[in-house]
């Protein structure tokens, strides 16, 4: 055999195998599963929570105590316990429909599209957040952009024609324990508009969950919403019949 010919074949083989090898990730990180887990950290298959929310805006300082139930990502019921003036005000979400119960007038009111952009209970969380937030992988392409010793940084870019207002969302997730640290929301021009960060990490049953989340509207530096879970229980024996309009009313 001709040495020159053999050398050429060998080098081609080598080149090809190097290319092939480098195309494979070091280990396959299922980014979607990671994010889904983060978004569902407070839900599980079903959950019940007692939480308090502190809201500070330029117009008010509010403090609420609430009890909430959830099933998958599609059913959600929350009832206000404190302050007394707002006791038994409740919100029910089923898929993409939302209702409010107002005990003072004893009426259930369906939240119309025009009110969906409005804040929920005066906080920096909107009715829309309640409805849409947990289906990130449906509307975004997820990609791990950086990995440090302690964290994963996942970038979410909207899929073409996805009906979302953000230009980019970045998740910073701690490796051990696997909990989110921070989520940054960017507008279309990549200006950071909103930030949510998580802390007070605790073990609940077999899960590790950050018990406090803070929402910061970056263009109003004096404002924030802090949601603090006091008690969290997972895997309750409830099904979708629990999330009915009648239950919305009943204290």
């Amino acid at each position: 055999m001709n040495t020159e010919y053999a050398a050429r074949i060998l080098s081609t083989l080598l080149l090809t195998s190097v290319l092939l090898l480098s195309a494979l990730p070091a280990f396959a990180l299922d980014v979607e599963a990671l994010i889904r887990q983060v978004e569902q950290q407070y839900m599980g298959a079903s959950s019940r929570a007692l939480s308090s929310m502190q809201v500070k805006t330029s117009h008010w300082d509010r403090s609420l105590e609430m009890e909430a139930w959830s099933l998958d990502r599609d059913y959600f019921l929350v009832r206000i316990i404190e302050p007394a003036k707002e006791r038994d005000v409740a919100t029910l979400k089923r898929y993409r429909e939302v209702w409010n119960y107002l005990p003072k007038v004893d009426r259930v009111i369906k939240v119309p599209p025009s009110m969906m952009g409005g804040s929920w209970m005066g906080s920096h969380i909107t009715n829309d957040d309640l409805v849409k937030a947990n289906h990130i992988e449906k509307d975004y392409n997820l990609r791990l952009i950086e990995e440090t010793e302690t964290d994963f940084i996942v970038e979410c870019l909207p899929k073409t024609d996805a009906a979302v207002v953000w230009g980019k969302i970045i998740y910073k997730i701690n490796k051990t324990p696997q909990v989110p640290v921070r989520v940054d929301y960017y507008d279309e021009e990549m200006v950071r508009v909103r930030e949510i960060h998580f802390d007070d990490v605790q073990q609940i049953g077999d899960r590790i969950v950050p018990m406090r989340l803070t929402v910061l509207p970056l263009e109003k530096p004096d404002e924030q919403t802090i949601l603090h879970y006091r008690k969290l229980v997972f895997d309750l024996p409830i099904d979708e019949t629990y999330f009915s309009l009648r239950n919305l009313k009943k204290p």
Binding site: V55, H59, W60, N100, L102, I109, S114, M121, G122, S123
Partner: protein, 407 residues
């Protein structure tokens, strides 16, 4: 002496005098009437815009009108605290608190504007009480009665006595919600009011919004709406920096533009009217003087100076003009009075028209305005003088012999 002669001359030829007089009187009276109707239309437009909802002057935070920000509220006693109390020009003062929210029904909701008012005070500023088709203003200042528009009542399918749930964002971040009971229904013809507006007691709105003792604006009426801008200028210096009084021109810039355009077309029509009237008078007067040329010629032949002739004619003209004026003004006033009290009702043919923020009622009526009397009067006199002057001059300059020969 000349005066006596002038009178005698007029009296001598009664027929001619009466003919001339009648022409002048009728023309003048009709002109005054036309101007009165114009002013009436104009006032109607303005009144509808301001007296249904806005008022003539509004006191509020400097940019409240642009953004209607819930949080731009004021102390409810701001008017009595800052405005001089000796204001006789202001006939009504109404504090208001505004809330935008939803009236909720089973599966749907209707966006509305709820205006918190003190019924007794509001009725001095706006005139919805004249547009009621059922019930009336809430009687209890501290209750939860509401006065709503007809379009809204239809959409919600409610009548007086029915309950409604109003939901809004309160000033403390909570969901403001409460029941309202319909005490009355109004129909202004303006769909913006009829389909969206709810009037409720001020205290009720203050409570639902969690803004005790606060208001957004103070609406005021004036005895003369046309003085709104100067009155605002006079009062503004008394107020703190971030608070201002706006007049209806500022609140309704479109109305101001319409009035400007309306003034233009009115000027055109009025000029035409003056010309027509003037021409009619000129015609009659001119002729009657011309036809006496022979007579003047004889007078001059007998020795009367040209100067005297001219004065004589001018005097006759003046007397005639003054008498015509007196009678014409009286007739004009009488007709204007009729149109003011009674008017012509066009409601069969036309429904109310919404127009640059105001609504015009389908009727023709007149108002009394000094300008509509003095100006025509002055013009009448002027035209008469002119009508007599020219031929008088001519006659005075004639050769007596030629004049006598004229037929």
């Amino acid at each position: 002496m000349l005066l006596t002669l002038a009178f005698r001359n007029l009296w001598r030829n009664r027929r001619r005098t009466l003919l001339t007089l009648s022409a002048m009187v009728v023309s003048a009276a009709l002109l005054i009437l036309a101007l009165g109707v114009f002013s009436g239309m104009f006032r109607d437009m303005l009144a509808s815009a301001t007296e249904q909802y806005y008022g003539h002057l509004v006191l509020a935070h400097a940019d409240y009108h642009e953004r209607r920000d819930l949080f731009a509220h004021l102390d409810e006693n701001i008017a009595s605290r800052y405005l001089p109390s000796d204001n006789t020009a202001i006939t009504g003062v109404s504090p208001r608190l505004r809330s935008f929210g939803l009236i909720s029904l089973a599966e749907t909701s209707q966006p509305v504007e709820v205006l918190g008012i003190i019924p007794a005070r509001e009725q001095q500023v706006t005139s919805l009480q004249t547009k009621l088709i059922a019930g009336g203003y809430p009687a209890d200042e501290a209750g939860n009665g509401a006065l709503i528009g007809q379009g809204l009542a239809r959409r919600l399918r409610v009548r007086t006595g029915d309950e409604m749930v109003f939901v809004t964002q309160a000033a403390d971040g909570s969901i403001g919600n409460d029941l309202l009971i319909v005490t009355g229904i109004f129909a202004t013809g303006d769909s913006r009011n009829d389909n969206n507006l709810v009037l409720a007691p001020l205290k009720w709105v203050q409570q639902i919004l969690v803004l005790p003792g606060r208001i957004h604006e103070v609406a005021m009426t004036l005895a003369d709406p046309m003085l709104a801008a100067p009155t605002a200028d006079r009062l503004n210096p008394h107020l703190p920096d971030n608070v201002a009084i706006l007049d209806w021109g500022d609140l309704l810039p479109e109305m101001r533009e319409v009035i400007a355009a309306y003034d233009v077309s009115r000027m055109i029509i009025v000029t035409i009217l003056y010309l027509a009237t003037g021409l009619g008078i000129l015609n009659t007067f001119f002729m009657s003087v011309m036809e006496r040329t022979r007579e003047f010629g004889i007078l001059m032949a007998q020795g009367m100076r040209p100067w005297t002739i001219r004065s004589l004619i001018l005097l006759e003209t003046c007397i005639l003009g003054c008498i015509a004026l007196a009678i014409g003004l009286t007739c004009g006033a009488a007709m204007t009075l009729y149109m003011q009290q009674v008017g012509v009702d066009l409601a069969e043919y036309i429904t109310p028209v919404t127009y640059a923020g105001g609504t015009i009622l389908p009727r023709l009526h007149a108002v009394f305005e000094a300008g509509n009397f003095f100006v025509p009067a002055g013009m009448l006199l002027l035209v008469s003088l002119l009508a007599g002057f020219l031929p008088a001059n001519r006659a005075a300059r004639l050769d007596p012999v030629q004049a006598v020969r004229e037929v």
